[in-house]
């Protein structure tokens, strides 16, 4: 039966799995695959597995438990090998790579930060700063049918929004990157102009979190900071 893989750890990781359940309904039973250097947590692959909420929660739950006890390389959700033997072969084949990655993340946790800004505040700022946008806005308020002017206004504003979001993303990222061992920035989304993960040492996690609090406070009410962590180091595995 196909083997679902949750995580890879060093051989000396305690792999406490009591009370945890794997993906699937009914939940699959967790077991371990070991080599002299490495260990993997696996289960059978339930038939028809998809990314349902309970399965994502189970996957995440296993990783959070393992993370509490030592360095762990989290697998991407849904990774399946042919059988336990081939998982063991993969651990053996890639042992140098996995051992090196485990050493890199040892003692570190991932924090994911998403920052957004209230759109209204940004639009006000643009109208304040751009004479052209302000005049177009005044004109189209009086002449709502002026589609070409509406488009011209929208184009200016869209360009300004993007430029301002990029600048903000750079400014805020520059505050936190120096506090982390490594940084992984995802593309900004429509809502979040900054979407970044930080690999932070366990004993520096409090300072990192504090720095995010301080920056959020400094930026004020228009901004929303969403800090998630500690997380298994998905972005650094």
């Amino acid at each position: 039966m196909a083997t679902y893989v949750y995580a890879i750890t060093a051989a000396d990781h305690p792999l406490r799995l009591e009370g945890l359940a794997g993906v699937g309904d009914p939940p699959s039973e967790l077991r371990t695959v070991k080599t002299p250097e490495l260990g993997a947590v696996v289960s059978d692959t339930p038939p028809g597995l998809r990314a349902k909420r309970r399965d994502l929660v189970a996957h995440q739950g296993v990783l959070e438990r393992l993370m509490a006890d030592g360095a762990v390389l989290p697998m991407r959700f849904g990774l399946v090998g042919p059988d336990d033997g081939q998982v063991q072969d993969a651990l053996e084949r890639e042992k140098e790579k996995y051992t090196a990655r485990l050493a890199e993340i040892d003692g570190c946790l991932e924090y994911n930060l998403k920052v957004s800004r209230d759109e209204e505040g940004m639009l006000r700022e643009i109208l304040r700063d751009s004479t052209e946008a302000r005049e177009l806005s005044e004109y189209t308020r009086r002449n709502p049918g002026a589609q070409d002017r509406m488009m011209a206004l929208g184009e200016i504003v869209a360009r300004e929004v993007q430029a301002r979001q990029e600048a903000l993303g750079r400014d805020i990222a520059a505050v936190f990157s120096p506090l982390a061992e490594r940084t992984s920035e995802a593309e900004p989304t429509a809502k979040h102009f900054l979407n970044a993960s930080y690999l932070v040492k366990r004993d520096e996690a409090a300072a990192f979190s504090q720095a995010v609090h301080e920056e959020a406070e400094r930026r004020g009410d228009e901004y929303e900071f969403r800090l998630n962590g500690p997380l298994p180091p998905y972005s650094f595995a």
Partner: protein, 151 residues
């Protein structure tokens, strides 16, 4: 200040309160083993919905222009629509309630898509104020990585 901090490492078996926030990490990052496969992830395109910056299009321009012209320039800045000010460990319940606008719609869109009806009764769905899924085109989620300390 508006900060939502969610800390999940209490061993609670994986709180799902912040699942949406970390969904992209669980589904899109993490280690893969060469030659192993990934299960078919029906509905995974939901992930990409938000991965886009401002798109240059007629719709976008009109939306921005209309949003500008709706601003009441005299009254100055209003309070943000959803202010979440949850600090520290007051995690899930508080965050869910207060940042409802921000979170709930997204979570609903995600659960609906991922479950496509099957077993939906057993999943603990909260309010069912259905929102239309946001329409958008998918775009790639390539990312920039930088390794500090290796330079």
């Amino acid at each position: 200040m508006s900060l939502v901090q969610q800390s999940n490492a209490s061993g609670s078996g994986g709180g799902s309160g912040n699942l949406y926030d970390v969904l992209e990490l669980i589904l899109d990052r993490g280690l893969v083993i060469d030659a192993f496969v990934r299960v078919s992830l029906v509905g995974i395109e939901i992930l990409k919905i938000d991965v886009r910056v401002v798109v240059a299009s007629v719709d976008t321009y009109l939306r921005f222009a209309e949003a500008c012209n709706r601003l009441d320039l005299e009254s100055g800045r209003k309070a943000p629509a959803q202010l979440t000010d949850i600090v520290g460990d007051t995690v899930e319940s508080g965050a869910k309630g207060k940042s409802k606008g921000a979170l709930t719609g997204a979570v609903e869109a995600f659960t609906e898509s991922f479950q496509s009806g099957r077993d939906s009764s057993e999943e603990k769905e909260k309010e069912t104020t259905k929102r239309p899924a946001r329409k958008s085109t998918a775009s790639s989620s390539s990312r920039r990585s930088s390794r500090q300390g290796e330079e």
